[in-house]
Amino acid sequence: MHPLGYLSGSGAQTASVLPLMWFMLIVSIVVTVVIVGLVIWAVMTKRAPVGPQSLRTVALEHRDGVKWIWAGLAVSIVPLLVTAFWTIAVLAKTGAVPAAPLTVNIVAKRWWWDAQYRDGATGGQFRVANEIHIPVGRPVLLHLRSSDVIHSFWVPKLAGKTDVIPGQVNAMWIQADAPGRYRGQCGEFCGAQHAHMAFYVAADPPLQFAQWERQQMQPAFAPATAEASAGLSYFTQHCGRCHSVRGTPAHGTFGPDLTHLMSRQTIGAGMLQNNPASLSGWVENAQIVKPGALMPNQHISGPDLTVLRAYLETLR
């Protein structure tokens, strides 16, 4: 219903934060209702039955009522103190990184997310864009870097925001306690396409995650058809300066790594469903789909687009 809503969650972090959040929310609503009630009741029961013209006919009151201020403060201080201590307890709990986490390096860029995985055993590594897979039930440590301006990493259903600030590495950990695709969104204004700087965290059962990792580690398959081969050479020539496909001469790092592009469900940082139609639309007219994005429109002729698309579709 609300993919970014954070009144419910599935993460180890949200499990400790949500009770506090609901407590404060309920306290806030109760306080508001009580105060609104007091104001309305006071006005209704105490109002002088005169208009502004005959205001001076109402005799002045001067009973002292300062005790009501102290009474109000005495009542207010209780939830405030409870909240303060509860806050610090939750802070202690969410701050400590659990042992033996999986580590993923995230680089935030205008306006997409680059995730770098390294296999501890083999030392092999790979990069994916905007779809970050993690194993269910296991803490994942994220090292957050920015290559340009300030962004903020936020997957509401798993954890709160951590800013991604150039010149420093911020760390946070997440853990999904149920499998699923959790939407994320940049949480700090970062320019033209801040609105469309989304991503997904896909929490897979451990076996499935291992399989995904193995598959992503592979270089791209060599194209099997003549059409796809033509597409590869077009890609290397025109796209390889910014994008890389492992196993080919294209290894630009400015844009997303496309080695296993077709294993992702969305493109354009969570903007479009990944299908042939939206792929060609994006390649041709990225500036219309996402004005201001750093991917220029490709002035690409019909036949070139056909072979390029044929090649991209092989990147499974």
Partner: protein, 662 residues
């Protein structure tokens, strides 16, 4: 009670000149001849020169108020355009660049060009009247402060109309605000505009502080100050401390952008977080600076309509100061997600939660004032009373964001948009609308239409809540701030439509309010001196007040000068009929800082065009800096320097040259 002897007269006379400084002021009553003499001495000459040269605090106050309301309308129109864009998902009315400039300009306009100046306007108009004084301590500085505000506003809006308005939010985070990522003149207009505007805020604050310490009527000791004085004075002290931080930050940013310094640039060892600290060390106390005076309006206005003194004067006055003191220790709650160490997060979180305590003092005081009074329902009362409700809603949402782990979710979502608008409209705009109804009779001599006033109240109150109450939920459902659109599948379309409808109802409410102001100015019912039977000194003079405010300087014996007979709190009585007659030129009375004992006769400067010329020279100077055009910059600097020489040239009439001893 007769006025106490002026201690200023104790000095023995030396030369004749010395006698003119240390003469014994006459004590007497107001007579038609005296009023006519004072009118001639104090009135501003008609015509363009007089208009540019006036240093009358009332004229300056009204200009501040009018200019700030114009900015409110402009900022409001910007908001409506944004609400149309956001009414449903994936609209393309605005490009992302246009939207980003609009939300940034809206914030800058409302926070810097409306919220603070409107309060300066009311305070400028009211302070000397509340003090039983004839003017602010530094009338020319007062004029300068207004002219700079106007010039800085024009400067910043010149950028907007050239398509180069601020576009990185009012908070203007680096490195996005650096030349590399934002190469237009947008941020240069904003940076230099803020340094420029900072001069206005600073000189204004200094003027309020000295006025507080020197210009109160005899007997107005600090425990007799109206709460609006506590609010504005506290805000002024804070402004003197915080404005330098933000002026410095913007100046350094401008150097980074134009001269490749590396204060905030990562490659040169600069720190993006340094900007955030400098900005929020200013930014958070600033929030209190733009609400405390408005809370004072409620604390002083509500009792008049409740027909009783404010409940808990001392706790409310002290809570005003305490809020500001704590307010200096909470800025990091704007930075909870930046990766700061847990210990400092815990400290700032606890401080931010506990700042609710002094705020709650005012809320309970206002409720008790209604409860223990006999409220007479007027439009002004409705605006003041609704402040309590809106303040509490803005307060509890603020309390939620004070908790670090919750804030990590709440921050930068529409929950914060809801929170900050409840705070800024709830305890700035609504009190200001109430204050306009309340003091309009004093400003103009006419009462605002009551029926239209109630219509505008209900329209703004309902419209505001329809627009902003659902926004809490929009935020909890995950809508991020500062996005020019949002995808359909986020499920946020219908609730955004509700907010957009509410924002237009709110706009209609404002429209009714402004129609009321304009109509009542000429067609309102005549007010008389004290239409609300209020208790402070401004209601003891005519409506509108004469240029000299008070023909004789009143002597104050209590906090409720005009209610002493009815309240019977003590046997002492203020004396408003008989007091010092200061009529040897433009004269005012200086009193001691704490007890307000008379000390000196002040010779006040007359109308002069010097402040206007200085502001104009500064506008030239800042335009030269913006364009990096050094000849224009030099011309501006020369105008400013020459003007300052003229300003500080010693004048006999102001006794600025010592007596010539042989």
């Amino acid at each position: 009670m007769s006025p106490p002897p002026a201690t200023a007269t104790a000095a023995t006379a030396g030369s004749n000149r010395e006698q003119s400084i240390r003469r014994t002021p006459t004590i007497g009553r107001s007579t038609p001849e005296l009023r006519e003499r004072l009118q001639r001495i104090w009135e501003t000459k008609p015509g363009l020169y007089g208009w540019l040269a006036t240093v009358d605090h009332k004229e300056i106050g009204i200009r501040y108020i009018v200019t700030a309301f114009v900015m409110l309308v402009i900022g409001g129109i910007e908001a409506l355009i944004m609400r149309v864009q956001l009414a449903s998902p994936e609209q393309t009315l605005l490009s992302p660049q246009q939207y980003n400039m609009l939300f940034s300009t809206h914030g800058v306009t409302m926070i810097f060009l409306y919220a603070s100046p409107i309060l300066s306007g009311f305070s400028n108009y009211l302070w000397p009247l509340l003090f039983g004084s004839r003017d602010m301590a530094f009338p020319r500085l007062n004029a300068l402060s207004y002219w700079i505000y106007l010039a800085a506003g024009i400067f910043m809006y010149a950028g907007v109309f050239l398509g180069a308005g601020p576009n990185d939010g009012w908070f203007n985070y680096v490195p996005y605000a650096q030349f590399r990522y934002d190469p237009g003149l947008n941020i240069d207009f904003y940076s230099l505009g803020m340094v420029f505007l900072g001069v206005s805020t600073s000189v204004g604050a200094a003027n309020f502080i000295v006025t507080l310490l020197r210009m109160r009527a005899p007997g107005m000791s600090i425990n007799r100050l109206p709460i609006i004085i506590w609010g504005t004075a506290t805000a002024s002290f804070a402004n003197l401390l915080i404005v330098p931080a933000v002026s410095l930050a913007f100046f350094l940013l401008w150097l980074d952008r134009q001269f490749h310094t590396q204060f905030f640039q990562v490659p040169g060892g600069g720190q993006p977080l340094l900007w955030q600290h400098l900005f929020w060390m200013f930014g958070h106390p600033w929030v209190y600076a733009i609400v405390l005076p408005a809370m004072g309006m409620v604390s002083d206005g509500l009792p008049v309509f409740c027909r009783r003194p404010l409940v808990g004067y001392a706790p409310v006055a002290l809570a005003t100061v305490a809020t500001m003191l704590l307010g200096f220790g909470v800025w990091v709650h704007h930075m909870f997600a930046t990766g700061l160490p847990g210990l400092s997060l815990a400290f700032f979180s606890a401080a931010s939660i506990l700042i609710a305590v002094p705020s709650a003092v005012s809320v309970f005081s206002w409720i008790a004032t209604i409860w223990l009074g006999r409220p007479v329902i007027t439009a002004a009362f409705l605006f003041f009373a609704s402040t309590i409700i809106l303040f509490v809603i803005g307060g509890v949402s603020g309390f939620m964001t004070a908790s670090v782990p919750a804030d990590w979710e709440l921050t930068d979502t529409y929950f914060i948009v809801a929170h900050l608008h409840y705070v800024l409209l709830g305890i700035n705009v609504f009190p200001v609308m109430g204050a306009t109804h309340f003091w309009f009779p004093k400003f103009t001599g006419r009462i605002m239409d009551e029926r239209l006033g109630r219509w505008s109240f209900w329209m703004t109150f309902i419209g505001f809540n329809v627009a902003f109450l659902p926004m809490h939920l929009t935020g909890l459902w995950g809508m991020p701030r500062r996005v020019y659109t949002y995808p359909v599948e986020m499920g946020l379309g219908p609730i955004n439509m509700v907010s957009t409808v509410g924002s237009f109802l709110l706009a209609i409410g404002f429209l009714l309010f402004f129609i009321n102001v304009l109509r009542s100015r000429t067609r309102g019912v005549a007010a008389g001196d004290n239409p609300w039977d209020a208790y402070t000194l401004e209601w003891s003079t005519s409506s509108p007040p004469p240029p000299y405010n008070f023909a004789v300087i009143p002597t104050v014996a209590s906090r409720h000068m005009l209610w002493e007979e009815q309240l019977g709190e003590s046997n002492e009585r203020s004396n408003l009929e008989e007091g010092f007659i200061l009529d040897h030129g433009k004269e005012a009375l200086a009193t001691s800082a704490l007890d307000a004992e008379p000390q000196r006769i002040l010779h006040m400067p007359g109308d002069t065009i010097i402040p206007f010329v200085l502001a104009a020279g500064m506008l030239v100077l800042f335009s030269g800096l913006l364009l990096r055009n050094w000849p224009i910059t030099a011309i501006g600097a020369v105008i400013c320097a020459a003007d300052l020489v003229a300003w500080f040239w010693p004048r006999m009439s102001l006794l600025e040259r010592g007596p010539a001893h042989g």
